[in-house]
Amino acid sequence: MTTPAELPYLDYAATTPVDHRVMAAMTDCLGREGVFGNPSSRHPWGRAAEALVADAAGQVGALIGGDPAGVVWTSGATEADNLAILGCARFARERGRGDHVVSVRTEHAAVLEPLEQLRREGMHVTLLTPEADGRVTPEAVRAAVTEDTVLVSVMHVNNEIGTVQDIAGIGAALADHPARFHVDAAQSAGRLPIRVDAWGVDLLSLSAHKIYGPKGVGALWVRRRPRVRLAPLLHGGGQQGGRRPGTLAPHLIAGMGRACELAQDGPETEAPGLRTLRRSLRDRLLALDGVVVNGQDDGSPHILNMSFGCVHGDALQAELEGLGVSAGSACSSSARGPSHVLRALGVPDALAHSSLRFSLGRWTTEADVDRAADRVEDAVRRLRAFSPAWRRYRSGTSLEALYRRNPEPAQPSNREG
């Protein structure tokens, strides 16, 4: 399948292209003249690579406001989430500190699936149901922790709907509790400020490919003071203090470091522009009527999720073929059933099915947004022209009434033609 460059790509939350400056940093690590050494080696090649990895850790630390020594390189945010959740909970349970974990129903599968694994291992997991806009309050989190709670995991920005959690508030609510606080920040990095120290975060997951870095590398930041310890997932040569053994990949790490450096000013330099584009896309599509914004009305600057009432999701997708957007989320196509995130928000399945996620990024232009909005408008209008649901909506039935129950069968109006 071809992906013509003239079609707008609005799926930056799924992945981003690599920034040329990042590519340059990576290329410098590959060849014979470059920093290709094994960072564990004690000769000049190894020491050069070790220094490069230390620089990259500094760039990660600067992005998140934490000690660079806490950076553990992983294969991506999925591994970082697994290491945080399984590693932290297993370590605590082995020492008899408790067997309870608290998280939220709208988390990414990379959090929910390891939690399910903990359940299989006999631990107890509480998944909070968020408010209608996707947020959980610090009070709700605090109320869910017990004396057996060893870990709380809440994502910063939701990947499907862009809802921003009050991480500082939740961190403060947990300040007097010994449970560790893990945050998946894969989507927020570079879009919103992150301050692990100020917020009382103990573990934070990052991914390079969401911030214009390469796929295949991420990091788990682990607090050093007071020290947070983990049971490792992998066992091997003792690299990274045994927390994640395996030869480090200097080119990926250099790429992630550079990507973090470039992302550091993102909240001030890029986010306002993204927010403006997001608003204009939102306003244009809301003008279609019968459209709902899922999540916060003004959530993360780069993610917009909307449900288009009175059209079928499969037909909407067929109409938008070639446009770089996600239906619901990249991870919840119709084949896999409705999105667990939209379900947790209480969006009816049929309406969730006709939802689209638009996610904007570094190279999104006003023209991209306009072209995408044109396509969606045309698609929705065409499908609604013969939709019985749209006819009822136009004669006064609310979307809520339409999708939650069918009070009366469709009756055509009493006029000719």
Binding site: G313, D314, A318, F386, P409, A410, Q411, S413, G417
Partner: protein
């Protein structure tokens, strides 16, 4: 779910879409499915005084295959004897249009709505 040939044409340019009329002596209207479960089809048949279908039209909230099926069936029925309309089943429509197997349950709603329209026509007849 890619549509082929005739089905694709009907999805791209549906015939006899909407334009439903109110209740009348020669008008039969039938509905199947509902919004909540994701697919709803409304079918309407208007007969002439010779026992033939003067006009068949429809509305559909559904995936491409179901939209194509409703459009195609409405075209088949226009001008046909009312009695012939009873013969069309979802299976026959799906086979003729080479619709993907997973869409049969949706196409069944087209059949149901069409049959309900015929029954309604009889009541009003």
């Amino acid at each position: 779910m890619e549509l082929q040939g005739t089905a694709r044409e009907h999805y791209r340019a549906p015939r006899n879409a909407s334009g439903l009329r109110g209740v009348g002596a020669s008008v039969g209207t039938g509905t199947a499915g509902d919004v909540q479960s994701g697919i709803e089809v409304v079918f309407q048949i208007i007969s002439d005084d010779q026992g033939r279908i003067r006009q068949a039209c429809w509305e559909c909230l559904g995936p491409p295959a179901v939209i194509a099926a409703a459009s195609w069936l409405s075209e088949q029925l226009t001008g046909a004897p009312v009695d012939d309309a009873r013969g069309w089943t979802a299976l026959a429509i799906s086979e003729t249009l080479e619709l993907p197997a997973e869409s049969v349950s949706g196409v069944l709603l087209v059949e149901d709505a069409c049959k309900a329209a015929l029954a309604d026509l009889e009541r009003h007849g």
